[in-house]
C-alpha cells in the first residue's frame, strides 16, 4: 500500500476495491514457494466428502507477472525481493489509468477506463519469476513451425485490403464477446473463478464472460472431432493430489483470440492443465500447450490461483457490447468522411 498512486484521493475507490477483492491472507503468512517446493508444514490438503482434494471456492489468478519474459529481462529468470518490489511499483505506475499528466485528447480517451475498473492485482507471482511461462527456460513462446509461418502468411494475404473494422469478423473474439478462451489468462479485471466439485465432475466458472467449463472425471472418451468448441472438450482425472485436465476438440478460430491462453494454437491444440492445492489460499496451477502444427515445442505456463472472497459478478459482455456498434459505426463514418473529402478535396 505504499505505492504513490494509492495515496492520492482520486484512487480511493481503488483502495476500496482492492480491500474488497484482494486475496485474503493472514498477515505475515509465508507464501508457498510454488513450483519447486512442496509444502513442508503440517498443512494437509482438505478433502471433499468423497475423498478428492478440495479445490472448491472462489479464486483469482490476477498478477502483474507478464506471460512472456520482457526482452530487457532476457536471461533473468527470477527477481530478487527488492527487484520485485521495484518492478511492481513500476508496473503499477505505468498501469495507473488515473493519470492525467498528458492531457491531449487521444491520451485522455486511451485512459477512458480509469483505475476504478481494473483489478489486476498488485503483486507478481510468489516465485518472483519474471514470466508466467516456466518452460522453455527463456520464458518465451517457442518459435512457430514452418507450417504455421506459411499459414500466417496465407492469412495475412487473405486479409489484404481489409480494414480493421470492415465487419465484426475483423475484430477479435474477446471484443465480439464470443469467448475469452480456456484457460483464461490473467487480465485487467474479472480474474475470478468459481470451482465446484460434484460427484464425477469439476465445474469451473470463469467470471469473465460467464464461461463455465464442465470437466467430467468418469473416464469417458472425448467427444468426436466433429464437435469443435471454443473452450474445447475437457476430461479430468486425479494424479495423487493433482487434478489433471486434458482438453482437445478446440475450434481452429481460437487462433485469432487476442486474449488467448495459447499463443495462436488452433484446432490441433492439446491442452493439459494441472491443479494442485498447496495451502488454504493457493492452488498451484499449470498448463501445457501442445500444438505441433503451430509450435516447435510444447510450452508451459504457471500461475497461482489465490483464494478471494467473491462474490462472482455477472459479466454480461455481449448484452452490453455498445463498443462493437461504436467501432463499426465509427469505421463507416470515417469512410464516408473520406469519400466526401475525396469529392470536394482536390478542387
Amino acid at each position: 500500500m505504499s505505492h504513490r498512486f494509492l495515496a492520492s484521493m482520486s484512487a480511493l475507490p481503488v483502495v476500496i476495491a482492492i480491500a474488497l477483492l484482494a486475496p485474503v491472507r493472514a498477515a505475515g503468512q509465508v507464501q508457498s514457494a510454488a513450483e519447486a517446493t512442496p509444502t513442508v508444514k503440517t498443512w494437509t490438503v482438505p478433502r471433499t466428502p468423497d475423498g478428492q482434494p478440495d479445490l472448491q471456492g472462489i479464486w483469482s489468478n490476477g498478477t502483474l507477472t507478464p506471460l512472456e519474459r520482457p526482452r530487457e529481462l532476457a536471461g533473468k529468470q527470477f527477481f530478487t525481493e527488492q527487484e520485485a518490489a521495484e518492478y511492481e511499483k513500476r508496473v503499477l505506475e505505468h498501469n495507473n489509468a488515473d493519470r492525467r499528466d498528458n492531457q491531449d485528447a487521444e491520451a485522455d480517451v486511451a485512459l477512458a477506463y480509469n483505475n476504478f475498473w481494473y483489478d489486476r492485482g498488485t503483486k507478481i507471482v510468489p516465485t518472483r519469476r519474471t514470466s508466467l511461462i516456466v518452460d522453455p527456460p527463456d520464458g518465451r513462446i517457442p518459435p512457430l513451425t514452418p507450417e504455421a509461418h506459411k499459414r500466417e502468411a496465407a492469412r495475412a494475404e487473405a486479409r489484404h485490403g481489409r480494414g480493421a473494422a470492415d465487419s465484426w469478423e475483423d475484430r477479435n473474439l474477446g471484443e465480439r464477446c464470443l469467448t475469452r478462451g480456456a484457460p483464461k489468462l490473467p487480465g485487467g479485471y474479472n480474474n475470478n473463478f468459481l470451482i465446484l466439485q460434484g460427484p464425477g465432475y469439476v465445474a469451473i466458472l470463469q467470471e469473465m464472460i460467464h464461461e463455465v467449463r464442465v470437466i467430467p472425471l468418469d473416464g469417458r472418451p472425448h467427444v468426436s472431432q466433429n464437435i469443435r468448441q471454443w473452450l474445447g472438450d475437457s476430461r479430468g482425472h486425479w494424479e495423487g493430489n493433482t487434478l489433471v485436465v486434458d482438453t482437445t476438440d478446440f475450434r481452429d478460430e481460437i487462433r485469432s483470440n487476442a486474449f488467448n491462453c495459447c499463443g495462436g494454437a488452433g484446432a490441433n491444440l492439446h491442452l493439459v492443465e494441472r491443479f494442485t492445492r498447496v495451502d488454504n489460499d493457493t492452488i498451484n496451477y499449470q498448463y501445457t500447450v501442445d500444438d505441433p502444427t503451430t509450435f516447435t515445442r510444447p510450452w508451459t505456463v504457471a500461475v497461482p490461483l489465490t483464494k478471494t472472497p467473491g462474490p462472482i459478478y455477472e459479466y454480461a459482455c455481449h448484452e452490453g457490447n455498445y463498443g462493437m456498434v461504436g467501432i463499426l459505426s465509427g469505421a463507416r463514418a470515417e469512410e464516408k468522411a473520406a469519400e466526401e473529402a475525396a469529392k470536394t478535396g482536390p478542387r
Binding site: T48, P49, D50, Q56, R162, G163, D166, S167, W168, E169, R176, C177, L178, T179, L194, L196, Q197, G198, P199, Y201, A203, L205, I209, H210, E211, V212, V214, P216, R220, V223, I227, Q229, W230, L231, P311, I312, Y313, E314, A316, H318, E319, M324, V325, L328, S329, A331, R332, E335
Partner: protein, 274 residues
Amino acid sequence: MQNCLRGTTFVVAKAALVAALWLGVMPTVGQAQAYKAPRTADGKPDLNGIWEALNTANWDIQDHAARMGPMVALGAAFSVPAGLGVVEGNEIPYLPAAVAKKKENSEHWLTADPEIKCYLPGVPRATYMPYPFQIFQTPQYILMAYEFAGASRTIYMNSNQKSPNDTWMGWSVGHWDGDTLVVDVTSFNDQTWFDRAGNFHSDALHVVERYTPISPDALDYEVTIEDQKVFSRPWKMRMPLYRRLEKNAQLLEYKCVEFAEELMYGPLRKQSSK
C-alpha cells in the same frame, strides 16, 4: 440443436412417462412427500445432474394452439408447436397498463425478444428453454450452467450477502425447505422475457423457485412470480424437469453470439465487403 433434441426425445419421453405416472399418483407434490431422494454427503437431496424441461413454455407459457412460424421458407420444420400452458390457472394478472406492452412485445417478437439476440435469458426462462442445464450442488454454492448462451448463475446458500448490482440472471440465494431447494432471486434488470410470446416483467421482479425431487429422474419445478410494477398479484408456473439419461450426456456449447451478429451488426458492415 433441433436434431440433437429429436435424437433425445425417446429417452426424455420415457422419463416423462415415468414422471407422469408419479405426478398422476401425487397431484400435490408439496403435501405428500412419498419420494425420498438420494442424499449428498451433507444429507441434502442430491440434485446434481443434467436436466431439461420438455414442454413448449419457451414459445408461450400460456395455453396456445399450433401456428405457422415466422419464416415461410422454414415451413413445417420451424413452426410453433401447440402446448398446454405452465401458468397456474393459465391467467397472468397483468396490470392494465402492462397489457398493451405484452401485446406490443408479442407483435414485435422477432425484433424485441432478447433470445433472438443471444442475450442472457434470465430466470425462470433459462430453466425451460429447449436446452439442457446442469446443476452442481455443494453446501455453500450451487452452480447452474445452462447450455443456451453459456449462461450460468451461482446460488449462494443461506447467504445474507446482497447483490452488488442488477443483473440479467438475477441474484440467487438458496435454502433447503425439507426436500425442496428454494431459491430466492432478485436484482433483475427489466430486459429479459418469460417467453417468445412477449410475456415480460420489470426490474421489480422477484422470483421464488422450488426444486423438489419427485423421482430419481424428475424434479418438480414451481416458480412464483412477483412484480408490483407489472402484475396485480403474485402468480405461479409449474412443470417437471427431466434428467437427461444418456450415458454420455454432457452440456455442449451453444455460444450463440455468432449466430446473432449478422442480425445485430449487419447494417454496419462495410458495403463493398462480404
